[in-house]
């Protein structure tokens, strides 16, 4: 598993450890409590990676989470970085894994660009609007050619925005709303706050990965949550949960607002995936995680 120390990686390694699955974690940052085999390595350094050939030689399953998210749309500034960190690092990695039978690659809804229709199915056109989206899409394509020629099963999971993380990117809607409302500050909405998304709670996201490991079903699957709240509704849910009535502040947004709801029927039929945690429950758990994390920080 790459990206072991990342947001999803920490939850997933915990889960695999609990389920007594043997695995090796790979990350450039050492995890806090290493209860599993771990290799500290930068995937960008091929020579460094090759030092671990013996350890990696017999690996048959790869969960490739390591990625660099950057929603910048300037290819001059971020294009090369997006290629190196998402695409070239992936190539370095699979080159050192000669016995692969199954790859689970976590991709993103951002490969689609602006939805032409909702819900967005896996066959929707792919016109990403940032360098991250392009690099994930192209990594998918390179992996597909590789897997096809090498007879490797390849599961690509295109995740909607994941929430309920321990140290979330504060720029994201849900964590920023929780943070503000918790401190009796007005949450900030860019635009009107009416656009809907089917955000997915971390536990459900982990479930999707675990299911794909069991099924080993090649394919591209959307993974999203069961509810489709707008930002206004999210603020309302958080307020109710905290017994507050804090009004949002609206700021102008340069970005166009649109609904983005991924269709998860295919994942349901092929992987037996069904998100279990609705938005109210998910927000409740996110607030608990947020408070626990803050307490630990102090």
């Amino acid at each position: 598993m790459t990206g072991t120390s990342g947001q999803i990686g920490r939850f997933l390694s915990q889960k695999l450890f609990e389920n007594k699955k043997s695995f090796i974690g790979l990350d450039v940052i050492e995890p806090e409590n290493v209860e599993f085999s771990f290799i500290k390595v930068d995937l960008g350094r091929k020579i460094e990676l090759e030092k671990y050939r013996n350890e990696l030689n017999e690996i048959d399953t790869l969960i490739h989470l390591a990625t660099k998210v950057n929603s910048n749309d300037d290819i001059i500034k971020n294009g090369i970085e997006s290629i190196d960190l998402n695409l070239n690092n992936t190539l370095n990695l699979i080159e050192t894994l000669p016995c692969l039978k199954h790859i689970c690659f976590t991709s993103s809804y951002m490969v689609y660009g602006k939805p032409l229709i909702n819900q967005v199915g896996e066959n929707h056109s792919t016109e990403p609007m940032n360098t991250y989206g392009v690099s994930k899409l192209i990594t998918e394509k390179f992996l597909q050619v590789f897997a096809n020629k090498k007879n490797i099963e390849l599961t690509i999971l295109r995740f909607m925005g994941i929430y309920g993380l321990e140290s979330p990117y504060i720029k994201q809607a849900i964590p920023s709303f929780i943070e503000n409302i918790e401190h009796d500050k007005n949450p900030i909405i860019f635009g009107t706050g009416s656009a809907r998304r089917n955000h997915i709670y971390i536990d459900d996201a982990i479930d999707a990965i675990l299911l794909s490991l069991n099924q080993k079903n090649s394919g591209v699957y959307n993974i999203g949550g069961p509810d489709t709240p707008s930002n206004l509704e999210l603020i309302d849910i958080i307020n109710k949960n905290m017994n507050k009535e804090i009004e949002p502040i609206f700021k102008n947004s340069e970005n166009e607002e649109y609904n983005f709801i991924v269709d998860t029927h295919y994942a349901n039929s092929k992987l037996n995936f069904k998100a279990k945690i609705g938005i109210k429950k998910g927000i409740e758990k996110s607030i608990e995680t947020y408070r626990k994390f803050k307490k630990n920080e102090l």
């Binding site: 749309d73 300037d74 290819i75 001059i76 294009g79 090369i80 290629i83 695409l87 070239n88 190539l91 699979i94 080159e95 066959n123 056109s125 792919t126 016109e127 990403p128 609007m129 940032n130 360098t131 392009v134 899409l137 192209i138 394509k141 390179f142 597909q144 050619v145 590789f146 096809n148 020629k149 090498k150």
Partner: protein, 312 residues
């Protein structure tokens, strides 16, 4: 937004190649001020004379090397229009990952480095390929899903996507031309037509991978050049397939070449077909740009054979 070629500074990458060299000649005729980027100033081939007589400016540069691109940045800054044709030279090596890396460096990174220094662009034309589609046996239009079956196709698709992002953020029109298999004079690759012509002319055995029933869509170089010039002048956002739409079975192709060269070559079919074949649907360029293809496969093959004979 139409683009007037006269006196404009146009940069052509891959300008020593088949499409590039013919395009450069045509653009000079139309009064453009041409800059060509190429890897080696000692291998100018057909444009050697144009460089020596200073009709075009040759910039020696490897697009995979950022420092080399930086060295020519004073020329790049004034470029009005970029025609990006540079691509892999020949059939890939057998190492998949090596292919992938090469394709990424040349196709994707190369164009990003270039764009960094071309700060006055009014338009971009990208020479892409029908290899971005899956060879599924269907006639495919531009809306069809892009699922490359080669590392080469992945790199070309990657460049398309980064260019589209650049074009939409910077409001610079981008034309993407997805060329089918191009044939005709100056094709020095080891693609199927030049390879078979060579073998037929030497009366060698012709080995065909698969049963010969798979098909392709071949487009003659002069049609490619006309479509490309027309697209540069139009200078509007768009993706166009450039192929005749005619299904040519590989065994028919070989028979035609053997006939046209009076060859005694024997054909041997071996192995399984790699794919179900491919043919492009080019209705869009006909409709939007009023473009018609002129050269038939027989006529085109005759011309390539003549060229090959003269060369030898």
């Amino acid at each position: 937004m139409s683009f007037n070629i006269l006196n404009k500074k146009i940069l052509v990458t891959g300008g020593t190649g088949q499409v590039g060299s013919f395009l450069v000649e045509k653009l000079i005729e139309e009064g453009a001020n041409i800059f060509v980027i190429g890897r080696n100033k000692n291998r100018l081939k057909e444009i050697k004379n144009l460089v020596e007589t200073k009709k075009i400016t040759f910039l020696e540069c490897d697009l995979t090397k950022e420092d080399q691109i930086k060295n020519i940045s004073s020329s790049l800054i004034h470029i009005d229009f970029l025609v990006h044709l540079s691509s892999e030279l020949s059939t890939p090596s057998s190492n998949l990952i090596e292919n992938a890396r090469h394709s990424i460096d040349l196709n994707i990174k190369g164009v990003i480095f270039l764009l960094k220094f071309c700060k006055n662009l009014k338009g971009i034309l990208y020479g892409s390929t029908t290899a971005v589609y899956e060879k599924s046996g269907l006639s495919l239009d531009e809306n069809f899903q892009t699922n490359p079956s080669s590392m080469y196709g992945c790199g070309k698709l990657g460049a398309e996507k980064y260019l589209k992002l650049f074009s939409s953020v910077n409001m610079i029109p981008l034309t993407i031309l997805r060329y089918s298999t191009i044939y005709g004079p100056r094709n020095r690759t080891n693609q199927i037509i030049p390879r078979i012509i060579n073998q037929a002319l030497m009366n060698e055995q012709i080995k065909i991978h698969g049963n010969g029933q798979t098909f392709r869509d071949f487009i003659y170089i002069s049609d490619v050049i006309r479509a490309t010039i027309k697209s540069i002048k139009k200078n509007e956002n768009g993706i166009y397939n450039i192929g005749t739409g005619e299904r040519i079975k590989i065994n028919e192709l070989v028979k035609k070449i053997i006939y046209l060269t009076n060859s005694k070559s024997k054909i041997i079919f071996e192995g399984e077909n790699d794919d179900l074949g491919f043919v492009s649907n080019s209705n869009r360029i006909e409709k939007n740009l009023g473009f018609k293809f002129k050269i038939s496969i027989n006529e085109g093959l005759k011309k390539e054979i003549e060229w090959k004979k003269c060369l030898d």
